[in-house]
Assembly symmetry: C2
Homo-oligomer: 184 residues x 2
């Protein structure tokens, strides 16, 4: 499936894992030296230490004006100078998932300004969201960020802002991987 | 995965397929005599003729008041007297999936009254939605309906109403299977 990806922790990979922290919850992930991201058409490396799965899907909360602003400003993944990356897997609790669409949207944007905050950090911080919950994975979402080394403090600011929101009160499991692009 | 299901057309199964129509598009499904529905924990029958896959997920459009009304009135699947069923796989076009959340919600409910219409047919017509698009399936959604033989005309009315909506203009592929519960 073209929209399904594996995030694979192993001895090899395009990205060196330089940091791994548990932000919330007590989910244990073994340590791996490197990370690779591949479409599920590719076979999973046999020497993998862990695999997280997610798929790209349609937008779930962004409204027309927000979607257009995002599309106009954001830059894609794979920029040559964006040698820093972060992978932040999160799970939201059962209360969140029982909420109706308007209740989730209200918390997501009216109260937590999720998209508005993300927009402030564009185009420097590129990001891509992968959905995991519907695959029975240990996390609901995997978010992948790429940025230049000189934007590292700017990225910390973005993450700090999101974690301080009302929305983040529903997050009950969160890991934070930091990565550096390996020379090829 | 507990939320993933296979709809399997084969020589055997809980449901006899008594009708199969292409409503929109030219997708070809071979004919099967019976249908079974099983969680993906179960192995897929070896003698299957076709398999459609879908998963149950959180609500995507229903707002709080609508979600509460649905929960208060709807009845579950598997009622002993609900020996009639329908399986309606649909795919929506690329224009639909490029729309932002507020645009899709507006078409879905403000213009097409999807949930409001469904509510009118409760509790007689029980239904369950399975998501397929994110699995790279030939359809985006599989909707399964169960009702009593005496509610058959009422069900036709529901289907007719939905197909006449603005929302349905975005449907570019649709099949319609009708089924009868096999005696066990």
């Amino acid at each position: 499936m073209d929209n399904h990806f594996n995030f694979i922790g192993s001895d090899t990979g395009q990205w060196e894992i330089i940091g791994q922290n548990t932000v919330k919850g007590d989910f244990i992930m073994p340590k791996a030296a490197n990370l690779s991201i591949s479409n599920t058409h590719s076979p999973i490396l046999e020497n993998n230490i862990w695999v997280l799965k997610g798929f790209v899907s349609n937008v779930r909360y962004a409204e027309k004006a927000e979607k257009e602003k995002l599309a106009a400003i954001q830059e894609g993944l794979g920029r040559p100078n964006a040698t820093c990356a972060a992978l932040i897997p999160i799970r939201k609790n059962a209360v969140w998932w029982e909420l109706a669409q308007d209740e989730r949207r209200k918390i997501f944007e009216s109260q937590s300004h999720h998209t508005e905050t993300g927009l402030k950090y564009l185009p420097q911080i590129a990001r891509k969201l992968f959905h995991s919950r519907d695959l029975g994975q240990p996390f609901d979402f995997l978010t992948w960020f790429e940025y230049k080394p000189e934007d590292a403090a700017f990225f910390e600011d973005l993450v700090g802002n999101l974690r301080a929101t009302e929305e983040w009160k529903y997050v009950d499991r969160e890991l934070d991987f930091r990565l550096r692009k390996n020379q090829t």
